[in-house]
């Protein structure tokens, strides 16, 4: 009947949902206040900081370009080697682990769990800490750095590779199973074509990250451009520090450009 419109109620959130949301906002506010109290900001140092930064920049300028030829270039090459070898090594270890971690490919929960446990272990330890461990075992130098990069990367690469495997189209695999294909043939003709773009994307992304990470490993003696940075910092040669920082910056940007260009071709 016209004229007897009954209004039906509609609200986006129920009352408990609203209360829950307000409680969440309140908790966020408390967390921010608490954090500020914990970090103990010393007011004098805060006021002083613009002057300090200006001072730092004046010490950095003009840059000592002779340092580039004498130390930075060779350690930069070392850094690239550490990052690249570390990435390749991590791929070699992470791919088999990824096959074990993927639940669709390895329907054994204990093995999935084991592989994921290794991934978490790898990722929960910072590459600097891995480097400290390997420096203790193998002595200072690029070997420790390469292993640190590799072990830090296993978790990242393995987890993402396993996820890519789990997202592979089940139907395509089912067809190969129905044709009587053994598991290894299923992997080569069914899974691999489907995860190949993801694989290259993960590998390049990790290589990009590893260039940045391996740049600081030298601080704990694990080789690379970080050694040059550490030396200059310890001697308070800020004009040399500036050269190293600028070099790292340029290399990271170049790596980014290379990765983007390759990725566009691969995908």
């Amino acid at each position: 009947m016209p004229g007897t419109a009954i209004h039906r109620e509609w609200e986006r959130f129920t009352l408990p949902q609203k209360l829950g949301r307000y409680a969440l906002y309140l908790m966020a506010a408390i967390a921010v206040v608490w954090s500020f109290r914990t970090i103990e900001i010393i007011a004098e140092f805060l006021y002083d900081s613009p002057a300090q930064i200006a001072d730092l920049f004046t010490r950095m300028w003009p840059m000592d370009w002779s340092y580039f030829g004498s130390a930075v270039w060779s350690s930069l090459v070392e850094t690239m080697h550490i990052a690249t070898l570390g990435t390749i090594l991590s791929l070699g270890i992470a791919m088999p682990l990824g096959l074990i971690a993927a639940r669709n490919l390895t329907p054994i929960p204990a093995l999935n769990w084991f592989a994921h446990f290794l991934f978490v272990t790898s990722r929960s330890v910072n590459s600097l800490v891995w480097a400290l461990l390997f420096v203790a075992v193998f002595g200072p130098g690029p070997l420790a750095g390469t292993l640190a990069i590799a072990f830090r990367s296993i978790g990242f690469v393995g987890k993402l590779f396993a996820e890519a495997l789990e997202e592979a189209n089940k139907g395509s695999i089912e067809a190969l199973v129905a044709a009587g294909a053994p598991v290894r043939s299923q992997i080569l003709m069914g899974y691999w074509p489907q995860v190949r773009p993801a694989f290259w994307s993960i590998a390049l992304f990790r290589w990009d990250i590893n260039i940045r990470e391996s740049a600081v490993l030298g601080i704990v003696g694990a080789g690379g451009i970080g050694v040059a940075l550490d030396t200059a910092l310890n001697l308070l040669y800020w004009d040399q520090v500036a050269v190293v920082l600028l070099t790292i910056f340029v290399v990271v940007i170049l790596a980014e450009l290379v990765v983007t260009a390759i990725r566009q071709r691969v995908l």
Binding site: G171, A175, L176, V177, A178, A179, G180, L188, M189
Partner: protein, 270 residues
């Protein structure tokens, strides 16, 4: 047990005949999807399984090549009980059973030729698959089949560049590549338009017919089933309620299979 089973049994002497006995499948305990299926299929021709959605047609067909594990019962084919095979023996049995899927199930990023050759994966060693060094006779057969399904010039195209109908042709060719003794087709036309559906059924029935391979097809479309199959099996609620020739399928039978009758009247009006 099952009264309808007797109405039409193929000669069980055929080498490629299939006998299913008391097949039960429960995905959850106490809730059977298949409630004791008894079926004897001849070693040639096309059998269509019709029935409402969710009635276990797909489960039945997938129990035959063990994509779904039967809970109990026997599936006798080529002198083996398929329901009990494991490992290597199961793989050997599977490669003699081709399958065509509703969603084609090609490996989209591989070429058409690679998809066809993947039908040979049950036969060729892993290193050959890896290096794509398939035996020349497989490659020759693949080209012949591609020509037969009208995709001769698509061999090097990636499967994801094809239309639905073209993909299903590749799917059928891949099944034939297995040199199967039986082809299972699970709703092969449900994702296709009416015209393409008929073309696909034509190709399936022709390619299988030439090679005398029996085909079991799940199909929604009753008209297509009647047109192409020599035998219709009607299922409802996990049981077979009709088993006989297409001509014998009455409106009364359809009512038993699908329930209700309004939809039949609508069809008569249209």
């Amino acid at each position: 047990m099952n009264a309808v089973t007797g109405t039409m049994t193929g000669s069980a002497q055929d080498a490629r005949s299939l006998v299913i006995r008391d097949l039960v499948k429960e995905y959850r305990r106490g809730q059977p999807v298949l409630r004791g299926i008894n079926l004897t299929l001849p070693g040639r021709g096309m059998t269509a399984i019709i029935g409402p959605s969710g009635t276990g047609k797909s489960t039945l067909i997938r129990c035959i090549n063990r994509l779904v594990e039967p809970t109990s019962g026997q599936i006798l084919f080529m002198g083996q009980n398929l329901a009990q095979l494991r490992g290597r023996q199961l793989r050997a049995a599977r490669r003699r059973i081709g399958m065509v899927f509703q969603e084609y199930n090609l490996v989209e990023r591989l070429t058409v030729m690679e998809n066809l050759l993947s039908g040979r994966l049950g036969y060729v060693p892993v290193w050959r698959a890896w290096l794509r060094k398939f035996p020349q006779k497989d490659i020759d057969r693949a080209f012949e089949l591609l020509d037969a399904v009208g995709l001769g010039q698509y061999a090097t195209q990636r499967a994801d560049a094809l239309s639905g109908g073209q993909r299903q042709r590749v799917g059928i060719a891949r099944a034939i590549m297995q040199e199967p003794d039986l082809i299972l087709a699970d709703e092969p036309t449900s994702s296709l338009d009416p015209k393409t559906s008929v073309e696909i059924m034509d190709i399936l029935s022709a390619l299988a017919g030439e090679r005398d391979i029996p085909v079991i097809v799940n199909i929604h479309n009753v008209e297509l089933a009647k047109r192409f199959a020599q035998r219709i099996v009607g299922m409802t609620g996990g049981k077979i309620v009709y088993d006989g020739p297409p001509d014998g399928l009455t409106d009364e039978d359809l009512r038993t299979i699908y329930g209700g009758e309004d939809w039949l009247n609508d069809r008569a009006d249209g």
